[in-house]
């Protein structure tokens, strides 16, 4: 029991030090209390926002936007990547486009999307899709190219129709790389959805909540939402991806429990 308590204490120690440092900073009067609220106030605000359902509501809106955008990105990215790997003309056409699109941060497009589609859902979702698509394309292309050609030839000999070739040979064969592309894409989508909500959202979402709280100087809300973002992000990353990896890759023997 005391050993367990010691373990917990050791795990919490870094946070206690940082929290204490912040608390001293907050109470030193260096910043106005409105701008640097005590951690106790932040905790109270966090609890109130969770209990009233406000924070979960924001998180749900954010996750919904991210989910739709990410789904679009995954569908488009896997399809385009596969086409690029299999059809030379498509590859030659799209390679420079991907090369140029990859280094442009998705956020740079948002003002344009806002002008085209107005403030609101479309601009944010498009941003998410846009940010996540490029790494997925690149990885899907590599994955399909890396498939053992014997598998494809074998399937051809057995007169597999193209759609079955895609679903039964290419997709499973390329899955490890596709998944790592999806993982990069998801990380990008997560950053993008918060950014997009800051600029383009109109009423709900974690990014919007932060920005809105800033404008009315509710620093405690800002910090509480940042904590909410951290928790949501952690859940998305671990729950979704560890689950998928365990389910498919390890079971199919394509990966031995290692990461990345």
């Amino acid at each position: 029991m005391s050993k367990f308590a010691w373990k917990v204490l050791r795990a919490l120690f870094p946070f206690m030090v940082v929290g204490l440092a912040y608390e001293i900073f907050a109470r030193s009067g260096f910043m106005k209390p409105v701008l640097a609220p005590s951690l106790l106030d932040v905790a109270a605000t966090f609890e109130r926002m969770v209990m009233s359902g406000e924070l979960p509501r924001h998180a749900a809106a954010t996750l919904l936007r991210m989910g739709i955008g990410f789904f679009l990105a995954a569908a488009a990215g896997i399809l385009l990547g596969t086409l690029m790997a299999r059809i030379r003309l498509v590859d030659r056409l799209l390679t420079p486009v991907v090369g140029i699109g990859l280094p442009i941060p998705g956020l740079a497009w948002v003002p344009l999307f806002v002008l085209w589609f107005g403030l609101g859902e479309k601009a944010t979702i498009l941003l998410v899709a846009f940010s996540a698509t490029f790494p997925i394309i690149v990885n899907a292309r590599m994955g399909v190219m890396a498939i053992n050609p014997i598998w494809i030839r074998a399937a051809r000999i057995m007169e597999t129709p193209p759609s079955m070739l895609f679903w039964k040979v290419m997709l499973p064969g390329a899955l490890p790389l596709i998944l790592s592309g999806l993982r990069v894409g998801l990380a990008r989508a997560w950053r993008a959805v918060i950014a997009g909500e800051m600029i383009a959202a109109t009423s709900l979402g974690l990014g919007w909540a932060i920005f809105n709280a800033m404008e009315v100087l509710n620093t405690d809300v800002v910090i509480a939402v940042i904590i909410g973002i951290g928790i949501t992000g952690y859940l998305v990353e671990t729950l979704l991806f560890s689950m998928i990896e365990r389910r498919y890759l390890v079971r199919w023997g394509m990966m031995r429990g290692t990461r990345e």
Binding site: R10, A11, F13, P14, F15, V17, V18, M31, L35, A36, R88, R92, L93, L94, T95, P96, V97, G99, I100, G101, P103, I104, P105, G106, L107, A108, W109, V110, P111, L112, V114, L115, W116, W190, R191, I194, A195, M198, I199, L206, G207, I210, F211, A213, M214, L217, T219, V222, I223, V225, I226, I229, G230, T232, G233, Y234, V236, E237
Partner: protein, 271 residues
Amino acid sequence: MAVPRSGAEPRWRSLVRSLLDTLIPLIILAAIWQGSVWIAGLPPKLFPPVEAIVERGFALAANGVLWMHVSATLARLLFGFLLAAVIGVVMGLAMGRSRRVEAFCLPLLSVLMPIPPLAWVPLFILWFGLGNMPTILLVAFAASVPIASTVWTGVRSVNEVWIRAAAIMGVEGREAFWKVVLPGSMPSVLSGLRLGMGRAWPAVVAGEMIAGTESGLGWMIFASREFLSTDVMFVGIGMVGLVGLFLERVVFQTLETRTLKRWGLVSEGAS
């Protein structure tokens, strides 16, 4: 179709070929854009024709406005990135060499990891006001976490044999750190810096959009929305892509080939 690019082909021809390989698809893309705008009858104010974008690009480049924004962005990037490099490398090295520092920093890093750095900007704005400071801090924040974690793994993977060999020859403690561990972890420092730059570049553009810096590429794109200058937006977006590509391809790749190959630390095929 599959032309082997062997040494038999003169250098300039392969250069021209790769240039054409890049340009032709882009021209086709531009044509598709222009064609679909015409056919759909979309308002040119919102969907500017290619020639308007190019024209505006040259005009902005000629009167110096574009360069003013680019240099403002690069200055912020440089400040933030230097800050991140120092913090990240020091932290990574310390974490890799000392159990205690590792036990202290690792939980903090793993808590920071899932929070998009941009989420901190409103807090930075509240604390430091609009302007350069939040953007620079955002860049530093965004870049230092990947730098620290890459350097940390790199230091731990320094070949144990080297350290033991050095110890046998009487090089230990501080000297071993400077002579063995630090040079040995240089590849991971470089790849960490590269990764950090990959994060820093979107961050600086994002920061400029949100933190009201009144100059810089991000601000240029964001501010054009009020005047419906979509052509300026496209110029800005294109410039963001070009500079980002330049930083990644030219700056870092040259740095890597110059240093790592000379040190004999990369074998063929390693990125």
